[in-house]
Each structure stands twice: as structure tokens, then as C-alpha cells.
Assembly symmetry: C2
Homo-oligomer: 513 residues x 2
């Protein structure tokens, strides 16, 4: 057995089942070893940003770690933006990055690069395998690292000769270390803080869905505190009957207003709120200056235990969490208005859908309708690097083959990782992609105004607008093997959405707005 | 005047005229400053790999440095693969990478990342501006660095507040330091070595075109040494009447045979030949064990002076360089054969065209015809990270608006930076893109066989083939605003090529092969 075979058997034995791959020559022994194990599902992405974003989406919906298979430093570079986003989503991910045979690295070959350097900028854990006989143990350590602290970015660099030289056999993957928990004093202090007038409980990372969302809802019901969630979301439950919680805002001034009057802010699962960008004369952090900040439980700690302990301390076990009430909106009709598009999606989407949201500026108009949609999961952008939406939708659909995925994306954003459409078609993933074609980086138009530019000249227009020529999303989708339609009014959108939701498999709707 | 304005004026004053841009919020003040100076041409790329590849192509054809404008660590990550390729092409490039305002960096905002870390892995020079009043001097130093040693990767990190805070005014860009030259002893020794039986002069980087190619041809004529060029080429003159030189090969065994009998290998402009990858039991370096290696002049040294000194030493000034002789082939017809496609391109391409070659496996069949094409420049992949072809063609076309660019690319490769098609359409660049649709990573099929895999199972097939669904290149091109045709025989190809070469502007031909 060679090193590659020992590594594949180690990962399979450790419970890894899925690999999003974009391999090259230096990974061929690993590919050959994977070929012996069809039970490890290998999914090809035609660009590496698709692999890392898919591993992120897969982890968000399954909590299981997927692997990526990447080719040297440039391959990892292509994956980097979505590794960054996954890191900010606290996703666990195992990157296997091939490198040259170690003895080849003393020469300046074309693909030689700083693999450890570039992977280290976005990984919690990096190791370069140095022997075929230890690569199985390295793989076991990498998979454990990817599962540590709820989920980390672990990167194993695999010099080609450690894959092809002789190995002994697979290694066992040990469970990750126990999660850290807050002290009982910290729980007591936070419980007291939450009982003050003006208190808020802010959930991030793995907190705002599932049983932890229920626990948080009980705590809020018992104490009367506000229940909040981060603006950028790994995952959140939303829609009718979900535990009621309010999301932070994107715009600095909105957030300042949103948190105005907050006296105590208790953080569970997330980190301190901070403005997306700094602006001249505006604050970096939105909470009031006299607000006490309680960083009770970070994203890598034991979130569930923390909320249970808080609920116990407060005697909240019998409280009833407030839930989102209302009725699914009517199906709208008539001319194109973004609010109506939001309503149409809310009206027509099935129960238990997964919405992947990279709709950027458009999202502000369509999102309000989703609170009265059937209950669903929301996965939003996390690290701010655009091009996350289509890959995350890909990974979510792989993780949840029985659930409809709806990917909302701006046209500018979708272009960064447009190749994910092909993987959706190849794997027959049940994803409806809705591209909002506003034909430019509309958010940057707003940002340019924010910095005080009133008249926009040729250079700025040419850097912010994506018209001349217009992108034809129907052609782009078909080029990747995905059926598509363009709609220019609400009735057309409703018809296209009904059609795509009515069948399984990928489809794209271009909304001209 | 703010820091951004002082920086733009500095770069303009220093002779920078072109910026390939993919900006975000943290670059809005820089965008606003660019907007005041329409004489600095800003070209939008819809993905960052397009910016860095275009700056590379621009430098190869003009020897002038272009800027890229990128957005924080993830934006640079997206550009990284083609920065790597540009580095291996010895291209000069100035990356301006926005970052958060310095005071915002102490918070863990979504886009916070290790900008210095990731840029440092592929840059010769990195500096983070730390004050609006010194950012002009930083920009001047960066532009000088990009011009140093014939061309380097220089990266200036621009925290947003250094762009928006008050500055004094522009700075002056000083010329780069003088290029290093070999000692006279080294010239004498190399001249002696070249006069030995079995000697070869190997040209790399800036050597195999223009006056340096002529000088090298005279030296070869005088000494009788072989005149060779690197396999991966920044740029090379090829076709009828070009100085005759033979390129190294891609396949290890071919290269070993190619250099068999070489007694002395003198390197000018390039570095020691090394196999692209290591393979079990095969050598990393192709020259014979007893071949003397003379690393006379590296890519960052004074190549022209070196060749002049060598020619003087040898008294080669009146020698006549051997030139490529022959006749342009007839226009072929009939069924699809790659050799005929090569002949058709050679027969129909205009004098003085620029061929950008990322045709990978297909190239081996079509390339032989190009030696009897009209004289042209060849720009090949350099760093081995695929996705270089379309962006380099974009930059070459911007640099040389009066020359026809022909981009040859595999379908797998083209998908990595397919968004460059849109920039070609937007800027009306005169590029004919020829996509060889062999529907897979054919090179990896060969590599898998090289590692000893005889039967290929489901996982390997699914990672090497790009069919199911087929990519529709005509639709993909039209989606980006580029007219396109699919051809399935030689006659169809000839007609499509005639049409696209007969007009100015971008076009794409999908060759099903």
C-alpha cells in the first residue's frame, strides 16, 4: 500500500464521505487511491473556489467535514476566498493540497510556490507530510483538527512522493478534544446581565438554529431580553414558527440605531459585532459606549452546554420561546418590483427549503418577505468575499439531497464562481438559482456615494457597471448545462419559479431588475 | 488632496497608464481618485484572475508595468494564480490591494484577513502604507520595485484611511537600479564553453525575442552551438524568418533525449531547466550528468549587455543568424485533425500576430505548423497554473491594439478565468479565442497513466472528464458578449477562422476534438 492509499483509507475510516476536487498532476496518486474507493464521493468543480465554497455549504448543513482536493499553491490560491469565507462561517474543512515531491522542491520548477505560506493565511492547522509512512497519521490528525472547536480549517500538504512511496497502513482518527465551557461564575454573571433592562442575547455561528435556537428563545422568554442574531450567518432558522430573533443590520448607522439602548450584550456562539468596513467619522463597533459586553461563549466553545447552563441558571426550562407568527403571503403579480419577488419566493417555496443568500443590495428589498415564508434555513455570506453563494448552494444540496435549495445572488457576485453551475448540472443538484441582474456592483455605487463622490465619471462608471455588454445569464447557464429563463415582470418570475420548484434538478432564473 | 489622489498622481507622473481593476468598498477613495484622471485607463475584470493575468500579458508585450486594483486578502487570493504565473514569466506588475482602515483592523470584521501574508507568497516587494502623507512615496517605491531587475511583482497594501486622509502631494518615481552584469571572467568562460563541441546556449525570459534573439543567433552561428529556448515562454519570436531556435520539451523523457550529448549549457535570461513535475524514478533535471552548467545571466540581470559582451568576445558581430525557412502551408480541408487545425491557423494568421498558447495537450499536435507561419510572437503559460491564457490575451491585446491576438486554450483551462471573455467584449479587444473542446483534463489522463493506473474507475473518470454535461462554449461566449461558432471539421474551422480574422474585435471558435 502506498501513502495515498493509506491516507484515503484513514479518511474513510474516520468518517469522511465527500471530497470536492480539482486535482492536478501532483495529486494523481491520490486520485488513483480514491478510484479504489467509490464509497468516497468525489465531486469535480471546474474552479477551485467551487470546491472550498461547497465544503463550506456541506458543513453548514450537515456539520460533517468534507475534503477539498487542490493542486499546489496556485490551486489553493483559487480556493482561498471561499476558504476565508468558510473560516468566518466557523466551518470545518479538510484541504488536501498536493505539492511537488520533496526532492524536486530544491529546483525552481514552474509550479513551485509557497504552499505552506499561502495555506497558512487562512488555516487553523497546516502540516506538510514528510514521509509516506506517516502520511496516514498526518491525515488522521488533519481530520481531527478539522473537527476541533466545532470546526476548523485544516490543511494537509501532500508532497507527491509521500503519496507514491510505500506506507504501512491506515491510521485511526481520534475524536477532537472536548469543547471548552464557560466557568459557572461566567454563567451566573451572564444570567444576571440578561435579566437587566435593555439586555440582549446575541447568537452567532452554530447557535441560531436547532435546539440551541430553542434554548435561546426560552432564555429570552424568561428574562425579557432581546434575542438577536449576527447579520452574516453561518446558518439560521427563519420563517413561520421559527424562534423569533432579530438580525443585526449591514449599514453602520442602522446597526447603531438597532442596538441603541442596549445595556448588556451577551454573546453566545459569535464574536463582537463590528462594522463590515470602516468609514470616515463612523464607529467600528455599533453598540453604545456604555453597553457591557459579555463574551460568554465563542464559536469554538460548547454552545449547547452554555445555553443549557444559562437556561438552568435562569429557570427558563418551562418558558415558551416566542415564535414567528403570520401567514404565507399571497402570490403577487404585475410589474417587476423586488418586494414582490421576495413575496413570490416566500409564497411558493416549499417547507424546509434552504436559502443561500448572496443577493447583496437586492437582499434588502426581498428579505422582509422571508419572515413569513414557510420555515427554512438561511445560509448567508460570512466573510464578505463575493462568489460564495453558488458554491455554498452546491455543498448544501449535496448534504441535503431531499431539500430544495434556493440560491439568491447578485449578477456581479455570481460571476466569481459561475463554474459551480456545471457541478450542479453534473451532480443533478436540486438548486434553483435566482440571479438578480442589476448589471453592476450596485453596492459599490452606494459605497462611492458614502465616501462623498457625487458625480461619477468614466473611470468609476467603467469599474462599477457591468453592462456594455450585458451578461446573458440564460446563455451562461445553458453553457454550463443548466436550464434557464429570463424574466422581466412578476408574473414571469412566478411562472418560472413555479416551474423550477416543481421539478428536481438545477435551474436558473435571471431577474432583470 | 487625499492620499488616494496623491497616489494616483504619483503613478501617472511615473508613467503608469493602465490599471486592470476589480475594486471593492475599501478601494472607493482610490476609485474616486482614478475618476479624476481618465488618462489612466481603468479596465474592469469580473474576476481577479483576469486582472493579474492581463497585467502579465500587458507587460510581456509592452515591457511596461500595469497596475491591478484588488480588494483585501480574498481579492488577492483570486488573483494569486496568475500573479504566480506572472512571477514565473518575470513580468513586472504593481498590485494595489485595499485593506481596512488601520484602526478597524483590531476588530474581527468579516473581510479581515492576512493581506501581507498572502501577498508576500508571490511578491518580490510588499509594503503596507501606514500614513496618507507617505502613501505617495510608497507608491513611487512600489512602481520602482515593479521595474527593478527587469520586472518584479510589487504589492502596495492600502489601508482605506491612508486613501481618505490628507496628503501633501505626489512623489517622484525614480528609475530602478542598474541591472547586474556578469563579470568579464564569466563572459570569457561562457564564450569558451559555447565554443566546445556539444555546447548549447539556452535563452529564457526576455532573451528569445527582439535584438537579444538576433545577438544569440549570431553567437550560435559563430560558435556552432545549439540555440535553445525554454519550454515555457514569457515571449518568443517564431515563424518564418525568425531566428532559428529549438524549444525544450514538456515530457521528461523527451527532454532528456533532447539534451543528450550536451557538454556545456550556457543560460542567458533563464534558469536551470527542471522537469515540470517529479515522477517516480525519473530525473528532476534533464541535462546529462556530465554537462557543465553556466548560469551566466539570470532573468533579472542585463540580458542585452550580456549577449553583446558574449558576441564581442567571440567576434560574432558579422555572423549571420540562422533563420527559420520554408513556406506558409496550404489551407487544409476535410475532417477534423488537430494537425490540420495547426496548419489552418499558420496559413491564415496575419503577419505580426500574437499567439497566446494554453492549448496544453492539444498544443503538441498543432504547434509544429507554427514554425512555418508568418512571423509572430508566442506567449505561453509560464507558472503552470492553468487559467492564464484568456487573461494574458486580454492584456496583450490592450498593449498592442494594432496586432491580432490568437488565444489557443483547452476547455478545462479556459474555465478557470472564463470571465475574461467579458472584458474582451467590453474593451472591443481584437482577440480570436480558439477553445479546443476535448471535454476533459486530457493531460491528467496521461498523468494518471504515467503513475501506473491502467483501468480507470468512476471516481477518477468523474475527476478527469468534463462531459455530462458538455460545456457549450458558444453559449458561454455569447453569455459574456462574445460572438462564437462551433466547428466539427477542418472546413468549418477554416471558414470560422477566416471570418474572425477578417474583422476586428473578439470572437470565439469552439473546436470539437
Amino acid at each position: 500500500m502506498n501513502g495515498a492509499a493509506s491516507l484515503v483509507k484513514t479518511l474513510l475510516g474516520g468518517g469522511l464521505t465527500t471530497c470536492f476536487a480539482n486535482p492536478g498532476t501532483s495529486e494523481m496518486h491520490f486520485v488513483a487511491a480514491l478510484d479504489e474507493h467509490p464509497e468516497l464521493r468525489c465531486i469535480l468543480c471546474l474552479f477551485e473556489g467551487g470546491t472550498s465554497g461547497a465544503a463550506d455549504g456541506y458543513n453548514r448543513m450537515s456539520d460533517a467535514v468534507a475534503a477539498t482536493l487542490l493542486h499546489l499553491a496556485p490551486g489553493f490560491g483559487n480556493a482561498l476566498a471561499n476558504v476565508h469565507n468558510a473560516l468566518k462561517a466557523n466551518s470545518g474543512m479538510l484541504n488536501v493540497v498536493g505539492d511537488h515531491a520533496d526532492y524536486h522542491l530544491r529546483f525552481d520548477s514552474p509550479l513551485k510556490g509557497d504552499v505552506a505560506g499561502v495555506t497558512g493565511t487562512v488555516s487553523h492547522w497546516v502540516r506538510t507530510a514528510d514521509d509516506a509512512r506517516s502520511v496516514a497519521a498526518d491525515g488522521a490528525a488533519a481530520l481531527r483538527a478539522a473537527r476541533t472547536m466545532n470546526g476548523q480549517i485544516a490543511t494537509l500538504i501532500l508532497p507527491a512522493n509521500t503519496a507514491w512511496e510505500d506506507a504501512d497502513g491506515p491510521a485511526e482518527v481520534s475524536p477532537p478534544p472536548a469543547l471548552q465551557r464557560p466557568s459557572s461564575e461566567a454563567i451566573e454573571a451572564a444570567a444576571k446581565a440578561l435579566s437587566q433592562p435593555g439586555a440582549a442575547l446575541l447568537l452567532g455561528s452554530r447557535a441560531p438554529y436547532g435546539e440551541t435556537a430553542e434554548l435561546a428563545g426560552q432564555i429570552a422568554a424568561k428574562t425579557g431580553c432581546r434575542l438577536l442574531a449576527d447579520f452574516l450567518m453561518r446558518r439560521m432558522e427563519r420563517g413561520l414558527d421559527a424562534v423569533a430573533m432579530d438580525r443585526l443590520r449591514y449599514v453602520v448607522d442602522d446597526n447603531v440605531g438597532f442596538l441603541n439602548g442596549t445595556t448588556n450584550l451577551v454573546l453566545v456562539g459569535g464574536t463582537r459585532p463590528v462594522s463590515f468596513f470602516a468609514y470616515p467619522g463612523k464607529p467600528s463597533t455599533p453598540e453604545p459606549a456604555d453597553c457591557a459586553l459579555w463574551e460568554l461563549c465563542g464559536p469554538g466553545m460548547d454552545i449547547r452546554w452554555t445555553l443549557e447552563a444559562l437556561a438552568d441558571e435562569l429557570g427558563a426550562g418551562t418558558a415558551q420561546a416566542a415564535r414567528v407568527a403570520g401567514a404565507v403571503p399571497e402570490v403577487p403579480s404585475g410589474s417587476m418590483e423586488l418586494e414582490k419577488i421576495g413575496q413570490a419566493i416566500a409564497a411558493l417555496m416549499p417547507e424546509n427549503a434552504i436559502i443561500v443568500d448572496e443577493s447583496v443590495t437586492v437582499g434588502r428589498a426581498i428579505a422582509p418577505a422571508f419572515s413569513s415564508a414557510p420555515r427554512h434555513d438561511l445560509l448567508s455570506t460570512t466573510g464578505g468575499a463575493i462568489g460564495q453563494g453558488l458554491p455554498v448552494a452546491t455543498g448544501a444540496a449535496v448534504a441535503c439531497p431531499d431539500r430544495k435549495v434556493i440560491a439568491l445572488t447578485g449578477d456581479g457576485s455570481a460571476m466569481y464562481t459561475v463554474q459551480s453551475l456545471w457541478t450542479m448540472a453534473r451532480e443533478e443538484l436540486d438548486v434553483t438559482v435566482i440571479v438578480f441582474a442589476n448589471r453592476g456592483y450596485q453596492i459599490l455605487r452606494g459605497e462611492l456615494a458614502n465616501v462623498g463622490v457625487e458625480t461619477v465619471g468614466r473611470n468609476a462608471v467603467r469599474m462599477l457597471d457591468v453592462d456594455d455588454p450585458l451578461l446573458d445569464w440564460v446563455a451562461l447557464a445553458r453553457g454550463h448545462g443548466v436550464p434557464a429563463m429570463r424574466v422581466e415582470d412578476t408574473d414571469g418570475f412566478v411562472a418560472a419559479l413555479r416551474r423550477s420548484l416543481g421539478v428536481s434538478g438545477p435551474a436558473l432564473i435571471e431577474v432583470v431588475c
